[in-house]
Amino acid sequence: MSTRAPTLFGPTNVPALSSRSCRSACVFLSSLHTVTLIPGDGIGPELAKHVCELFRFCCVPVDFEVVDVDSSMASEDDIDDAIMAIRRNGVALKGNIETNHNLPPSYKSRNNLLRTTLDLYANVMHCQSLPGVRTRHRKIDIMIVRENTEGEYSSLEHENVPGVVECLKIITKTKSLRIADYAFQTARAKGRRLVTAVHKANIMKLGDGLFLECCKEVASGYPEISFESMIVDNTTMQLVSRPQQFDVMVMPNLYGNVVSNVCAGLVGGPGLVPGANYGENYAVFETGTRNTGKSIANSNTANPTAMLLASCLLLDHLKLHDYASMIRRAVLSTLTETKLHTADLGGQGSTSEVLQRVMNAVQSTGPRTLSM
């Protein structure tokens, strides 16, 4: 497979991704990490390509093993292969896999299958106001810790009587304790002061009541961190009026979906926020709001920021902190250039222009890159 060195000015030539590895040119480095890459649908493949390109340019010692998942196939072989690859490599970068909700219930969401099979129990999204992005609210800095494997997403439904469907929401003590502990540990590690549990225990007294109890139990073991709880509808109301009051938030699956999307919208939209899914043994990184972006696929207008920042989280996870900081700095500095803003930020910039600017920024900070 040919590898042409990307040039600083002019179009970059990227060889097509194949199911074999997309090798880094700096293969002589001893500690080469293999990471599973699942392009997904919509804007996923093009963003995955950009990450590969950027990593090669920066000589990041990461080797991507690409696994395609065809969402139109009824069989689960593709997603099983992807899961096996992640078990092998321990870490993955993923685009969103589309779920056609008009298909029968036997066809399960591939994304959900991946999360539950690998027991990626914590979905973490860090929403912060970014420089260069104009939003209605300023100084937002919220860390959302969402239970990722149970709750409303248990996919247990049945129709006992025609026209009457029951959907089961499962809350367990083990998983609630686990996610609460994860939230408090993260808060402690990052020096955060307050954890807010989001629930609806006034209505779902047993289910969300159990979740809340577990959070309170865990909170007692972290006396330096304040703990409070808030009902989910009040939470959304508070988020749109005074989001600065929140620090770390922990919640079951569905409320996590709502709150993380609200927060992502508050800081500038789905193109900006990266997301991470952590389990005991595996970690999968993706865009925070998990959008497929079908309508803007292949138009060179998608905002690559979220995916690039997700790749930085990946590098941090692999303890390649220098590379992570370098790329993150370059991405954030590019964000301050309003004329390069993509359509989701109200601009007319293209994905490739943003990427080129990121590469320029990396180059100017001085480390060795391919074009040198």
Partner: protein, 388 residues
């Protein structure tokens, strides 16, 4: 009959009586259309239609409830709205067989009048009975909760272009109250979606859109994850859309709605959804326009019953101190007037309320001012007199 047929019938009748649309009789065409629209709604003609006065059941509620109810009654009197209030109390009582219910005189009043206005009710903890709101909902089968959210000029929030309506299914879904402990440490909550309830709410959403000149209805769901339950809801919405082709219909995932709502709420019109999503989204939208203190709400039930209410709490800390803000209850009462077809009075009272808020001279504390509730009410009354 279709709307145009009603309208022509009425115009013909007027012509027969020698009344014309133009000239000295001054019957305006839009008043005819409004009457037609009102006639189409089943709940328009309350049973007690004596001398043009509509009797409405008033439930003042707890905490600040009584004072804001008094404020609303005063404003309605000044506006000469043809409303007669019948006050009732709804403290839960235990009926025969130990079943909790609302007092029979309150039930009888509501069943007779069909229209009600309710202040905030306190939810007692450990009183042994379910919340009053839940009891009311079950007693009158209040299946649709309607919250119109429109930005209030003069009450600044970061969102200035909100103009949408959330219609929430209010009887089933995640709030069915069916929970079990399977084994110690494992709890199962059941979300119930039925075709009947989904059909009812979808039909109502499209009817509402038609009657209130709204262009589109969006069904909010999570059918990618909850394939069967939200799938059923979505299917019934699509079927209702087929029957109402003059209203645009589209579907959107809950997370996409949340994401887009906080970035650009102007893209939404009427939203219809199951119980939990409705609870979250309606409060989210209330937050966009300024909170529960300024948001109206209506509950539509079977058999033509409709109860309009303020959705904020009882605020026991300011109860009795003349500090409360009656805006939410007032706007709910305006919603009630519109539901009854009394558009003229509704417009007058609503305009007066918004004018006073815009003037900023007599605002209650929560709106950023220093005035008392009575002063705010008087300012609105004064404005109503000027508008007559």
């Amino acid at each position: 009959m279709a709307g145009t047929a009603w309208r022509s019938a009425i115009l013909n009748l007027l012509k027969q009586w020698g009344l014309s649309l133009y000239g000295k009789d001054k019957i305006k065409a839009q008043e005819v259309s409004q009457v037609v629209g009102a006639l189409k709604k089943e709940s328009l003609q309350p049973r007690t239609f004596t001398r043009g006065i509509h009797t409405v059941t008033l439930i003042p509620g707890d905490g600040i409830g009584p004072e804001i109810s008094t404020a609303v009654m005063k404003i309605f009197e000044v506006a000469k709205a043809p409303i007669q209030w019948e006050e009732r109390n709804v403290t839960a009582i235990q009926g025969p067989g130990g079943k909790w219910m609302i007092p029979p005189d309150a039930k009888e009043s509501m069943d007779r009048n069909k229209i009600g206005l309710k202040g905030p009710l306190k939810t007692p903890i450990a009183a042994g009975h379910p919340s009053m709101n839940l009891l009311l909902r079950k007693t009158f089968d209040l299946y649709a909760n309607v919250r119109p959210c429109a930005s209030i000029e003069g009450y600044q929030t970061p969102y200035t272009d909100v103009n949408l309506v959330t219609i929430r299914e209010n009887t089933e879904g995640e709030y069915s109250g069916i929970e079990h402990v399977i084994v110690d440490g494992v709890v199962q909550s059941i979300k119930l979606i039925t075709e009947q309830a989904s059909q009812r709410i979808a039909e109502y959403a499209f009817e509402y859109a038609k009657n209130n000149q709204r262009a589109s209805v969006t069904a909010v769901h999570k059918a990618n994850i909850m394939r069967m339950s939200d799938g059923l809801f979505l299917r019934t919405c699509r079927e209702a859309a087929e029957k109402h082709k003059d209203v645009k219909f589209n579907e959107m995932y809950l997370d996409t709605v949340c994401l887009n709502m906080v970035q650009d709420p102007s893209q939404f019109d009427v939203l219809v959804m199951p119980n939990l999503y409705g609870d979250i989204l309606s409060d989210l939208c209330a937050g966009l326009i300024g909170g529960l203190g300024v948001t109206p709400s209506g509950n539509i039930g079977a058999n033509g019953v409709a109860i309009f209410e303020s959705v904020h709490g009882t605020a026991p800390d300011i109860a009795g101190k003349d500090m409360a803000n009656p805006t939410a209850l007032l706007l709910s009462a305006v919603m009630m007037l519109r539901h009854m077809g009394l558009h003229g009075h509704a417009q007058k009272i609503e305009t007066a309320c918004f004018d006073v808020i815009r003037d900023k001279k007599a605002l209650t504390k929560d709106l950023g001012g220093n005035s008392k509730c009575s002063e705010f009410t008087d300012a609105i009354c004064q404005r109503v007199r000027e508008l007559v």
